[in-house]
Amino acid sequence: MAQTTQTKEELAETKETGLIPIFIMGQKYEVPPSLTIQKALEYAGYQLIRGCGCRGGICGACATVYRKPGSYRLEVGLSCQTVVEPYMYITQIPFFPANKATYDINLLEPTGETVASLYPEIFKCIGCNTCTRSCPMDIDVLEYISQAIRGNIRRAAEESFDCVMCGLCAARCPSELAQYLTAILCRRLYAKYQLAKAEHLEKQVKALEAGKFEADLRALMQTKEEQLKTLYKEREVEPAMADETWEPKDKSHL
């Protein structure tokens, strides 16, 4: 596909320098091929003040739209997670103005009517599915909006669970919906009013308030910096792939 715009000379040039050409907001730059879009932006000289957050694919600040040569399709990604490819046309859309309802979650009822009254524009959805195509988290956005329309808060919350609130759905919606904001309303209503309460959490909070870790923390505050560094370096870390039965060797803080 890329052959349509890459001349032989350009390819040869790429081979020689080890850099690949990309276009940032229409301007051509040469960048190392192993970089993410975010690092490529910085390599090209951009200082990211907005549109950059956790750098780990979680915060949703670095929503990016790009197109590759030879295809009309717009593609999306988080710039901290997407590796550059030759002749990518890239622009970041870190923020998009979307209608954000103001509410006090404590005063709402967990009903479809609540969602409908705070975000009435969901009923303008024409079912084009562009939102789903625009989601860098591969969420079925049309599905959760459909669930919100029919008042099923639980399903809307579950379907939208992976949302990082990047806002690309809203940026591309022909009906001007604020999908990701509607979704977090559903997750808040579901979590507060419908999901079973976590009893162990309540117990733990009570224990903390009663001073469970008070002595440990005070002791830590008295520790000298050098010893603190050693303690930190030698601390026991839960392995990345540990199952739920994992327990630390020192159980005194459990």
Binding site: G112, I126, G127, T132, R133, E143, S146, R150, G151, N152
Partner: protein, 306 residues
């Protein structure tokens, strides 16, 4: 018998009594109405503008999803969904340019998600209303084998509304001026049939949103007419008719003076009752005009269980 079922947005939360009683009645007849795993809004009204590609695309997606489930029929209870989906089939079949553009759009959409897409021409999935399933697949005369509770001459006026009947050429559901499908059903269930002149008059439909007075007059005329002809209750097929006829009776009395309350029931609730579905599953408590005193007076339900 298993047929895919398209509930539509209203059924799930706002017409639970219709949905639950319809599904329970189907089950009692050995028909499994299986909800599509994923579905979107059908658009609720068939688009009548000239530029209607966007309006046709969403309901076409529903029909295409049905075919992807390997089915060639789709059942609805909601007459608005029935009307929209069936007319979309008609539109696709008869308008090659619209068919081409909608298919091109959906093909791209489905292929991005990794599905193989075949052109949809408006003929692959037949849209059926549950009443048609009862008439054509079960047969009203065969219902008596399934009846557990005779409806004992309950006087029912069937109100048909518009969405199942018109436009006749596209829907081909029943006689548009003198429909009889519900009357035949209720006769089979042991009801006394009340024929009344307002059975296909408009109830006001969604006019009740922007011109509530006009809608109120229409619904009031229907209720008065049914009462004059001696009906105990009016049976409906549509949650918007139910809203106008049932929930607006308070407003009618405010405007026109007292009337004796007229219970409005979904046809599926009466069917479910006759088929022996427990009364708790029929949602009789979800009405503005409580139908339970009437049903209790005919000894069709018991007071304790509610």
């Amino acid at each position: 018998m298993k047929i895919p079922y398209y509930p539509g947005c209203t059924m799930v939360e706002r017409a639970k009594n219709y949905n639950a009683s319809g599904l329970a009645a189907a089950k009692a007849l050995g028909i499994e109405l299986e909800e599509l795993p994923k579905w979107t809004c059908c658009g609720a009204t068939f688009p009548l503008t000239l530029d209607r590609i966007a309006g046709l695309t969403s309901p076409t997606r529903v029909l295409v999803s049905t075919r992807m489930e390997g089915a060639d029929e789709l059942v609805t209870l909601c007459p608005f969904c029935y009307n929209t989906l069936k007319r979309v089939n008609f539109a696709l079949k008869n308008n090659p340019e619209e068919r081409r553009r909608i298919n091109a759009y959906l093909k791209d959409d489905f292929e991005r998600e990794g599905s193989t897409y075949e052109n949809y021409t408006g003929e692959e999935v037949k849209v059926l209303h549950f009443l048609e399933v009862l008439r054509d697949k079960i047969g009203f005369e065969n219902l008596k084998d399934h009846i557990k509770r005779d409806l004992k001459g309950l006087k029912i006026a069937s109100y048909y509304g518009c969405m199942l009947l018109r436009p006749e050429k596209e829907l081909n559901f029943d006689d548009t001026d003198n429909p009889s499908i519900m009357d035949k059903l209720f006769a089979a269930l042991g009801c006394e049939i009340i024929d009344f002149p307002h059975k296909v008059e408009c109830c006001g439909s969604y006019i009740s949103l922007n011109s509530p007075e006009a809608a109120l007059q229409s619904s009031y005329d229907i209720i008065l007419s049914a009462q004059r002809f001696g009906a105990d209750a009016i049976a409906v097929t549509c949650s918007l008719c139910a809203f106008n006829l049932d929930e607006r009776q308070g407003a009618m009395m405010e405007k026109f003076g007292p009337i004796s309350p007229m219970p409005i029931l979904y046809f599926s609730q009466l069917l479910a009752l006759a088929l022996g579905v427990p009364q708790e599953e029929c949602g009789f408590q979800l009405h503005a005009v409580d139908p339970r005193p009437l049903l209790e007076s005919y000894e069709l339900i018991t007071a304790e269980a509610n």
